[in-house]
Amino acid sequence: MTPLLAVEHLSMRFGGLLAVDDVSFAAAPGEITAIIGPNGAGKTTVFNCLTGFYRPTVGRLALAQDGRTHLLERMDGYRIAREARVARTFQNIRLFAGMTVLENLIVAQHNMLMRASLWSVGGLLGLPLYRRAEARAVETARVWLGRIGLQDRADDAAGTLPYGAQRRLEIARAMCTGPHLLCLDEPAAGLNPAETAELTRLLLAIRDEQGIGILLIEHDMRLVMGISDRIVVLNYGRKIADGPPAEVRRDPEVIRAYLGEEA
């Protein structure tokens, strides 16, 4: 089976600092692939390269989808989301805080709605084509609101939600873009155990029902070991291990990276 995402020899250099050094890994559809490593290992840099926020110094990022291959390293950030359909969340939540929860989920469906509104002309005229598309978008949003348990807060400003709910909303918003690959940057950071358990259920449901690939950066080892199908370990920008959780947790180099040289 061809992988959904193939990262080959990815390197990212910032001046004299080699933040990511010749990293290669693959992510399969319908699987959760976790990227772990100590702070500053280059995990978020890998994400930023994947989603077009950085242009990699070296490397190939191939996303295979519907028989086409998108080379992400050559695409603008917004086209990666629009055409290659890679969605992401951020380590420090980036919701549209002043807009309502529902609006956040509708904005995520911008490109579909824009086409349906004939780049606003049809929408200004109130054509049924656009009205139907908007109703569909609201329906999609409603489904996701149900899954993250926020139906009752749909018309509240996103910034007024509690922290855990904001994290869930950001994931729902990413899902509303209809992605093939979902990149989550520390989704459990700052969540209490109950919220983490809820997040785990949500991620497993997304994987099993949507069949999309999930890339996960996370420090909560119980979460990572519990739901990942495959784990990639980075340290100082290099890949030091790559395999199923049971294998990775026994890897001496991983233990050394996490617990110090003596261990």
């Binding site: 951020f90 980036r94 911008h110 824009m114």
Partner: protein, 424 residues
């Protein structure tokens, strides 16, 4: 309810106190020419009337909030979505009353030439405020050179009239389109800039346009401006005392005696219609994906990119549409004045328009109306104290920023509600 009343009264008293402080120097004194020098006359009765008006208006506004909640409950439904919907619909009542008042204004008994002319000025600023609101309020792009597009619209009309003999109605779309292209021309180089940096570049752009108009004498007439700009016609009928060859004038067609006020009232209705169309247009855009993308861009550009929204196209569209509306207003300004020169398009104008948007509450249509009224009326009343105008203006701005940092009317209505979609 009594607690609410007390709070409203307190709030109104505070507003009245602020109004008093502002009004004493602005309105309370008048310079009069005594023949042997300038003397000062007081007119404290005006101050009293003004302060009382502020108190009553503020109290009404406060009580309106309570009335609104009450009105929303009248539907005898506990469905929160429906309550919210009714609460949102509440604002349609004052808006409709305001429009009705605006339509009736020229025919009211206390109406005068001066009042209609003044109302026309206010409406130009309202329209400019609504246009700039797209750029600043919705898309969050701080534009200090908005007057450039106003100038482009005015000069486009004046020049096309001079060269090709186009009338106001034919030239109106041309002005809008030209201004929109200038918006895109300005937009391209500044796409990467945000906040202060963008403000500086747009400020420079506004000055550039003014200086080009001032110095390119062969085309723009330089500081002499362009005179004899054609006046608008009513379905091809001019407002003139005597009909030119082969034409019928407005008063001949309707069989009424000629009066110069007819044109003034007609101009007032033209700008009223333009402003109302602008309002409907921007309100509609706000509910479309493009409008939501503007607001999302204002909130977080990086998140927009991660969701597949093209920030370049989105920003350019906001610039272009804001500029187009400014261009329409400019064309109207040219036809109303009959004469334009670069002096009408100074930075002062940009600052006033921006102040209207910011004071009114960014993104709030009704707020722009209120702020335009205040900002055009205040200097008009305080003419005698022209040299203190900017000082007091600045103090008022600081005061607003301290007490109401999000503007006079800062409530943001969601562009879509789950409740409404349920019903529809």
């Amino acid at each position: 309810m009594p607690a609410r009343l007390a709070a409203s009264v307190r709030d109104a008293a505070l507003a009245a106190a602020v109004a008093f402080v502002l009004a004493v120097p602005l309105v309370g004194f008048e310079t009069v020419d005594l023949g042997r020098g300038v003397g000062v006359r007081t007119r404290f009765s005006w101050v009293a009337i003004g302060v009382a008006a502020v108190f009553v208006a503020r109290l009404a506004l406060g009580l309106m909030g309570a009335a609104r909640a009450h009105w929303a409950r009248l539907g005898r439904s506990n469905d929160p979505a429906r309550l919210a919907r009714r609460a949102a619909a509440f604002w349609r009542i004052p808006a409709a009353l305001l429009v009705a008042f605006a339509i009736a204004l020229p025919f009211l008994p206390f109406s005068s030439r001066y009042l209609v002319d003044f109302a026309t000025t206010v409406l130009i600023y309202i329209m400019l405020g609504w246009g700039l609101n797209v750029v600043v309020g919705l898309a969050g792009l701080l534009d200090l050179g908005y007057v450039a597009f106003y100038a482009v619209g005015a000069y486009s009309f004046a020049l096309t009239a001079q060269w090709f003999g186009l009338g106001f109605w034919e030239a109106l779309p041309v002005s809008g389109l030209l201004a929109a292209s200038f918006g895109i021309i300005l937009g391209f180089p500044v796409l990467r800039l945000r906040g202060d940096y963008l403000a500086i570049v747009t400020l420079g752009f506004g000055e550039m346009i003014r200086i080009i108009l001032l110095n390119w004498s062969q085309v723009t007439g330089g500081p002499n401006g362009i005179p004899n700009i054609p006046r608008p016609t009513f379905l091809g009928m001019p407002f003139l005392p005597r009909a030119p060859e082969g034409l019928e004038t407005f008063h001949q067609f309707f069989g009424i005696p000629f009066s110069p006020e007819q044109r003034m009232i007609f101009l007032y209705f033209v700008i009223l219609a333009l402003a109302l169309v602008t309002n409907a247009f921007t309100l509609r855009l706000r509910r479309l994906p493009i409008g939501r993308a503007w607001e999302a861009l204002r909130e977080d550009e990086i998140a927009c990119r991660a969701l597949g929204i093209n920030p370049t196209a989105t920003k350019l569209s906001a610039f272009a549409i804001g500029a187009m509306l400014g261009g329409f207003a400019g064309a109207f300004f040219a036809t109303r004045q009959g004469f334009i020169s670069p002096e009408s398009f100074t930075f002062q104008e940009s600052a006033t328009i921006l102040a209207i948007v910011v004071l009114g509450g960014m993104g709030s249509q009704m707020g722009v109306v209120l702020a335009a009224l205040v900002l055009v009326t205040l200097p008009e009343l305080g003419r005698a104290f022209a040299e203190f105008r900017m000082l007091i203006f600045g103090a008022a701005m600081v005061g607003i920023m301290v007490w109401r940092p999000r503007g006079l009317l800062a409530q943001r209505a969601p562009s879509i509600r789950l409740g409404r979609a349920q019903a529809g």
